[in-house]
Symmetry: C2
Subunit: 426 residues, 2 copies
Amino acid sequence: MSKVELQPPRGTRDFYPEDLRRRAWLFDQFREVARRFAFEEVDAPVVEHAELFTRKAGEEIVEQLYHFTLHDRHLALRPEMTPSIARMVMARAGALRLPLRWFAITQNWRYERMTRGRRREHYQWNMDVWGEPGVAAEAELIAAICTLLGRLGLGPGDVKIRLSSRALLEEVLRADVLRDRPEAFAPLCVVIDKLGKIGEEAVVDLLTDPAGAVRLAPGAARGVVAALGVRSLDEAAQRVPAGSAAVDDLRRLFELLAAYGLEDRVVFDASIVRGLAYYTGTVFEAFDAGGTLRAVCGGGRYDRLLETLGGPSIPAVGFGFGDVVIQELLADKGLLPDVARAIDDVVYPFGDAERPAALRLATRLRAEGRSVDLVLGSVKPRRALADADRAGAQRVFLIGPDEAARGVARVRELAGGAERDEPLDP
Amino acid sequence: MSKVELQPPRGTRDFYPEDLRRRAWLFDQFREVARRFAFEEVDAPVVEHAELFTRKAGEEIVEQLYHFTLHDRHLALRPEMTPSIARMVMARAGALRLPLRWFAITQNWRYERMTRGRRREHYQWNMDVWGEPGVAAEAELIAAICTLLGRLGLGPGDVKIRLSSRALLEEVLRADVLRDRPEAFAPLCVVIDKLGKIGEEAVVDLLTDPAGAVRLAPGAARGVVAALGVRSLDEAAQRVPAGSAAVDDLRRLFELLAAYGLEDRVVFDASIVRGLAYYTGTVFEAFDAGGTLRAVCGGGRYDRLLETLGGPSIPAVGFGFGDVVIQELLADKGLLPDVARAIDDVVYPFGDAERPAALRLATRLRAEGRSVDLVLGSVKPRRALADADRAGAQRVFLIGPDEAARGVARVRELAGGAERDEPLDP
């Protein structure tokens, strides 16, 4: 038979033991932070009905949907976790005790032309609060992100969280360019989120495209781009009527974040809008201070998502934190740990005659909770010891004909080289 | 907008917090056994090139492949993990230090018409040894299964492992009905694996089908079925020439299993053949003693799989242990634990004025490693205490205007009801 393709599908990853140890280390960090913040883990199928994800705002994430029809059903691999969680909340809306504090660690897929080393799958840590309308929820989520960053060794000088509010931007634009066309706001956000990537001229072109969903006049489009350059929350507050709820919420959020001790982690940044259509309020993204990488994580408030899916109105806020950018950043800074294999003991019978004694010993050590590598084949002693050393074992139990006859194993401590006999049946 | 479908695609599962706690408990059991046996975890994408799975032996698992074509690529959701692991071994065949002891916990998919509550996805714990030709590897794997069963509370009276050998069956049949047609052996195994499900007559029909891959004469087909009824290894040994390697291997395997203390867990059963085409040697399945459920797990030796994929010859043996049947069995026996939520503390500010103090306290407790639920909205004290109790919290920290003024939190121990003040800034 001809050889099968040795690599996994383009843009996807295998996890060999050393890769998986690193992934497990990162997931353990995610889970430990979620545990400290008392969030409960949930999961949903990686394959969903495609309609759960298809929205009409021109989002990149929808255009790149991994979808297919199988036995007359239009299915898709989830590109993100939030819609599945929304579906789960909706399915039990009456029975769930709000607020919910849920998290998930899931693999998500997007089918895009491969450029610049982008992947077609990644893992994402999601944390969401459902049922709490106030910014205490945002503050709690941002505190969780900062707790994680701190655990990974990334200080305020390494990663900052930039935050803004779509509600604030909407107030600005509804007083002006979107006065009569509130429905254009979500697609407008999807377009201006591309500003950093495609530049001002291209954004203006999209905003003024007569065939697009936004269709602004050129002057209005330039006004929108200018609004994103506002330098501070105070300056932004001057562009909306006094008593703006969006401004009050943002001020309150910064107060709460200060109480968490996070003044030096968070900055107001009017240019943050996020590329998903469903956000309605606070939006935030974390970036490395060097500015060389894509966003480390991002999130925001999406109070109307459940309604757009046909469900009841339940406010919600959440974030997604991918596994790829953070590992690039940690690698750049020398903070990615070399997670070594950690076995305790190697049990090594010289030959078949000693094997029954060896596996009785291995069984006893394992019952004590130790991680025991039982040498399975015929291996030379030198190689068995070298393998044990490479695997990070603490002790090797050698059982040769002489030891078996005496009812002992020869125990070598690999760190110091000390040897002693230990009875096989104590 | 019309309501989206509330349920996940048919045959798939959502995992709400209580479901996920139980799944995590089971996976922790899998991982702990794998750790004690010094197996290393690996993973691969759930989407693979379909050709990795398509074989021509008429296996049910291939017929039920979840496959689709996307951008001219024929892709599939993995129906089982072994081919992906084989691909990973092949891709680094020269660089990997054999034997490999690898395990994986993965979600696998099969698209079948929904009957009798069967699912379209399940999770499976796989353990495989690559590079060891001797039955010491089989013994180690079966010992790992039995260790898991023991941890779950399932004794030898609850679950037995039935084992046989395709090599032995092949010796029997090659001396007789398959003398000139060795290529018919793998599809023959796929057919006779259905014996328990479809019965003797239907198996004979398939074995004698002139359009099938086996095409035996009716007498030969009945002889094959009869060979599966052999009662003991001694009786089977009489049907092959003296010095049969397959018989020697099985005898040696039973000796090793006895040394592991597993005499009462394993029985010879000539009817075990497994439904996958790639097995070549030992095959085994675990069944509940009541016989009411499908196999709890199954595995075997597949020494030629890598060659059939176009790779080098590396012997291998492994098993898959699903998450569904074991949970049904544990539930039947009352052994499925009610895994409760375990948070440590609830911090409850009476109002917005006390919130900054509350989240400073929550931050301090979390830094100590405690799991802290910070009450986010305006909740009545009675409800906050009831929620804390339901969530299994140990302590509630109440901060009202009076406490805030005195710089303390009122701490209530939920178990005994004792209360005391604790300084907010110690």
